[in-house]
Point group: C2
Chain length 111, copies 2
């Protein structure tokens, strides 16, 4: 992952409404949720949410699929993985001594 796309993803998540939307969509994997329902859930007008969804989409963190009148948004976990990998690579680049312990500590995250 290039710095440039990492910055897009970091900036996308560095905003309260967008972070909340992303987390909501992760919780609703793999079904996703229509834009209107997301807007209601996070309490922002439809147009405001729409621009936030566009930012997340450009950052590769959500995907959109039209279903009849609704547009279903889903979290793109591959995008998240790419971002996490980028952050870890920052420490790993040729320096497993730094990265290995860090990675070891991550394992219990699924408990």
């Amino acid at each position: 992952m290039e710095s440039e796309s990492a910055i897009l993803a970091l900036a996308a998540l560095a905003q309260p409404t967008r972070l909340e939307v992303f987390r909501l969509l992760v919780r609703h994997e793999p079904d996703g949720r229509p834009a209107g329902e997301i807007a209601e859930a996070v309490g922002v007008p439809a147009n405001t949410l729409s621009s936030h969804l566009a930012v997340l989409s450009r950052a590769g963190l959500v995907t959109a699929e039209r279903r009849s009148r609704s547009i279903i948004y889903r979290a793109d976990l591959e995008g998240l993985r790419t971002l996490v990998l980028f952050l870890l690579k920052d420490c790993c680049g040729g320096r497993a001594d730094i990265c290995a312990p860090l990675l070891a500590e991550l394992a219990p995250c699924c408990d």
Copy 2:
């Protein structure tokens, strides 16, 4: 990690100069680098860099230590780990089915 501090860290890294500074400091672990040297390396005036370092510091991603006239900055890898953990928890929260494969893919990052 609270969303609020996650947002601080995400925002801190979502800026080209700051991301570059952070990566530079990770490469120079565990010695760190004085502010002036960092400023020269990234090609930014001292005062501009200073405010960027303050942002990284508030986000818990770097630490500062005065050494005689210089101030030595170091990457705070624990802060990075906390951020990565936060991002992963987004998928893990009670859903190891999503997180496990993602985590498995991260392992090769140290190669």
